[in-house]
């Protein structure tokens, strides 16, 4: 029998094998920002509630590296990451918050309940800053160096194991 008859069958089996392998791989739904390595685009945000300072991109270029935390009072993982942000603050990190589509009274209630690790909180009702820095969800945390350049992006809530990573990235950005 002609061995070449089997080639299409083997090709098909190889294709099935590839498809089966790919199906067992976990799906990566993270969209990484291409703005890592770029300067923060110009923006100015009003305060997210009474008694806090708003933020502008110019606040970042003062020589100090900072964390820029994209969050919202309606976001459940943000509750989970609150104690870890508090921990980062205790260890010397300056955390600036951007509240996405949030109302001042909700922001105030969230911070009263879960603590306020932020030195400033801007109000981003139209996700403008979020889109401008390439963030695709809430929460996300960016490391911004003292020149206002985005150095690192953490997607999803900050967990205990991410705290040393973020501190190291802050140190690197110094």
């Amino acid at each position: 029998m002609n061995w070449r008859l089997w080639i299409p069958l083997f090709a098909f089996a190889a294709f099935l094998g590839l498809a089966a392998y790919q199906l067992t791989q976990p799906k990566d739904e993270f969209v990484e920002s291409r703005m890592v390595g770029e300067s923060l685009p110009y923006f100015e945000l009003p305060p997210a509630m009474a008694g806090v300072n708003g933020i502008g991109s110019t606040d970042f270029a003062d020589g100090e590296p900072r964390l820029l935390n994209i969050w919202a009072s309606w976001c459940l993982p943000c509750i989970a990451e609150a104690p870890h942000l508090e921990n980062l603050k205790r260890q010397g990190a300056d955390i600036v918050g951007v509240a996405i589509r949030d109302r001042p009274e909700d922001v105030a209630r969230f911070l009263a309940q879960h603590g306020n690790p932020y030195s400033r909180i801007g109000r981003d009702d139209l996700s403008e800053v979020q889109l401008a820095i390439g963030s695709s969800g809430v929460p996300e945390t960016f490391v911004i160096d003292g020149q206002g350049v985005i150095r690192y992006q953490h997607i999803g809530d900050v967990r205990a194991s991410d705290v040393p990573v973020l501190l190291a990235e802050l140190e690197k950005a110094r």
């Binding site: 969209v31 291409r34 309606w74 889109l131």
Partner: protein, 135 residues
């Protein structure tokens, strides 16, 4: 009684949804531009931009708040005189090719265009060998 209970349960389940919707949508999330030509350009662009929160929908198709904010960006930028290509570039600079549904030939995507062509040529060659000889 059971109906009332079911309704109450449904309300509780719907709470997280309501929480995201307490803010009014962005001004141009659902409002069309006054200029029909501009609105058409915006609509065509929105149909080829991926919603980042609901990744298998375009932003024109999605009711996610973030998709509304992206439509607002598209419409206000079109109204301000930016071209659809400029807006697409602005977004791909931030999210990569992933955000665009418009197919482009690049160093990673060229096999998608080349392989079908090769297969057609191969099939043509095989057919010619099989049936061409009989003449």
């Amino acid at each position: 009684m059971i109906r009332a209970l079911a309704f109450a349960a449904a309300l509780v389940v719907a709470l997280p949804v309501a929480a995201q919707q307490t803010m009014p949508p962005a001004p141009f999330a659902y409002r069309q531009l006054e200029n029909p030509a501009q609105e058409q350009a915006a609509q065509e662009l929105m149909e080829t931009l991926r919603c980042l929160k609901c990744q298998s929908q375009s932003i024109a198709d999605s009711d996610a708040p973030m998709a509304g904010d992206m439509r607002h960006q598209v419409r206000t930028r079109i109204a301000a005189g930016e071209s659809p290509d400029q807006i697409r570039d602005w977004l791909t600079k931030r999210y990569g090719d992933y955000v665009s549904y418009k197919p482009t030939v690049s160093t990673t995507t060229w096999p998608l265009f080349a392989i079908p062509l090769l297969l057609v040529l191969l099939a043509g060659a095989i057919l010619l060998r099989r049936f061409g000889k009989r003449k």
